[in-house]
């Protein structure tokens, strides 16, 4: 009905506006003189970047960005700003504007800006001087049948480049252990995060009661569909983490004890299953090599375990260290 050129022009126009919005949101996020404003710009930036991934045809990445960038990270940062404000006694919103105009800080800021600009220019030059290439797309497509799944991204993540994904899942775990090791000794054994509560028959609690079954099904769907279409353990795990967090934030269930053996088992289940499959594979051929005949069930098993671990790890990372009445003198108060 309309020829291709009109569509191309419209697409170019959209891309230009989107690029401007991304740059604008990013620029505002670093220049706004208000910590909370910066966080909000970051959330908005996540929405725009997800749109950019869609335009690039990378649905898997768009899903991750929508779930993490626009979703969970926002929750984490909003909580962080609020706790920062409580600890330092400022409203948090004013923390940035308190800096004097000229200081060592501003010198180092300018230096940072110059270095960043130099890196950007170098990267841009490197990108533009690349010759056109399809990358490894053809290679992945040729071997897709042997991978056990039909979504090329999942094939790469779990099968062809299993190393990377295994190490990533361990990095996530290491981040949580790092966070836990920052807890004060007195706090160990308390539940993570602030003491959550909500009016039992209020708006928040109602939302927390209605959404989870739906979110659970959607998270499972994300993981399941990942074997053939965009989706996967990371996207599904993020959705499940959000659902779990919602139930805790609505005061419907307490956060888990970090000392509980059950939660720890869930945390390491993903890397453990992945690693065991890899080690068993080492006897059958090569480390992390999945035999094509069993590849699909193995991948599904790994993805299921990874999903649980990712969901639990992300949720615990967002909850953070314990807080509340026993925390009046945080490190922020030290002179």
């Amino acid at each position: 009905m309309i020829d291709g050129t009109a569509s191309d022009i419209a697409a170019t126009g959209f891309d230009l506006v989107l690029a401007a919005m991304i740059l604008g949101a990013g620029l505002f996020a670093v220049t706004v003189r208000d910590l909370f404003g910066a966080v909000v710009f970051f959330i908005v930036y996540g929405v725009f970047v997800a749109l950019a991934w869609l335009r690039l045809g990378a649905l898997d990445v768009a899903l991750t960005e929508a779930a993490l960038g626009a979703g969970l990270t926002g929750v984490l940062l909003i909580g962080a700003v609020a706790r920062l404000g409580r600890r330092t006694g400022t409203q948090g919103t004013d923390a940035l504007s308190r800096r004097s105009a000229f200081s060592v800080r501003s010198v180092s800021q300018i230096a940072t800006m110059l270095v960043s600009a130099a890196v950007s220019v170098a990267l841009g030059w490197a990108f533009l001087s690349l010759s056109d290439s399809d990358g490894l797309r053809a290679g992945v497509a040729a071997n897709l049948d042997a991978s056990g799944v039909s979504n090329p991204v999942t094939a790469v993540l779990i099968n062809f480049r299993g190393w990377d994904t295994l190490l990533e899942s361990i990095v996530l775990l290491a981040a949580l252990i790092g966070l836990w090791s920052l807890w004060r000794d007195d706090d160990w054994g308390r539940r993570p995060g602030l003491r959550q509560h909500a009016r039992a028959d209020g708006v928040l609690a109602m939302f927390g009661r209605l959404l989870p079954p739906f979110g659970l099904l959607f998270g499972v769907y994300m993981v399941w569909v990942g074997s053939s279409l965009p989706g996967g353990a990371f996207q599904g795990g993020t959705v499940l983490a959000a659902v779990w967090l919602l139930m805790m934030m609505a005061g419907l269930m307490p956060p888990p004890m970090v000392t509980s053996a059950r939660i720890r088992a869930v945390l390491i289940a993903g890397p453990l299953v992945f690693l065991s499959v890899g080690i068993i594979g080492a006897f059958a051929g090569g480390f992390l090599g999945l035999p094509p005949a069993y590849a699909k069930p193995l991948i599904l098993m790994i993805e299921a375990a990874l999903t649980l671990s990712i969901a639990a790890t992300l949720a615990l990372l967002v909850l953070g260290p314990p807080g509340g009445p026993a925390m009046p003198s945080g490190p922020g108060d030290a002179p």
Binding site: R199, D201, G202, V203, M206, G208, R209, L210, P212, P213, F214, L216, L217, F218, V220, Y221, W224, V225, M247, L252
Partner: protein, 165 residues
């Protein structure tokens, strides 16, 4: 087991009706139903037919709400005159929240949760007669619950008589 049907339908929308999808659904839909039963144990005593009957007016009202606010936003004179009203609502708990959400999408009103059993409503233009509309909506929500209106002033949630869904 209305919610089993609802959640199964949602799963089908997500995953389609392939064999594998049905097997996965067979495992996880019951889990979702279990979660739902844990979160809302007695079930909300709602008549689905009555809720469906509510829908056309709700959609029409929220479109009017959109038009109303759009007209005010585009009008150079910005004709608004905001204020607060408090409305005692005797609906069972979920009902008051639903009413608040509904009012927030309707012309001129925005709920801000409730204090005790009084719903706080912010009105965009005090010249609009919203009180009658609020009463009307509450009455309609009453009809969707199977609950009796007895003991309304105590605000106690009427017990579910239809059994869990």
């Amino acid at each position: 087991m209305k919610r089993t049907v609802a959640l199964a339908a949602i799963w089908l929308v997500f995953a389609g009706a392939g064999l594998e999808a049905l097997v996965v659904g067979l495992i996880f839909v019951p889990i979702a139903v279990g979660l739902s039963l844990r979160l809302v144990p007695d079930g909300i005593p709602v008549r689905l037919g009555a809720v469906a009957g509510l829908l056309p007016r709700f959609i029409a009202q929220s479109v009017i709400g959109g038009i109303d606010v759009a007209r005010r936003a585009f009008d150079p004179r910005l004709p608004i005159d905001p204020g607060w009203i408090e409305v005692p609502v005797a609906l069972p708990d979920g009902g008051r929240v639903a009413l608040g959400g509904e009012l927030s999408l309707m012309p001129g009103t925005l709920a801000a949760g409730s204090v005790g059993n009084r719903l706080l409503v912010h009105v965009l233009d005090r010249k609009q007669d919203v009180a009658a509309a609020i009463r009307h909506e509450e009455e309609r929500l009453w009809q969707t619950t199977g609950a009796r209106r007895g003991g309304a002033s105590t605000g106690g949630p009427p017990k579910d008589t239809e059994g869990s869904r």
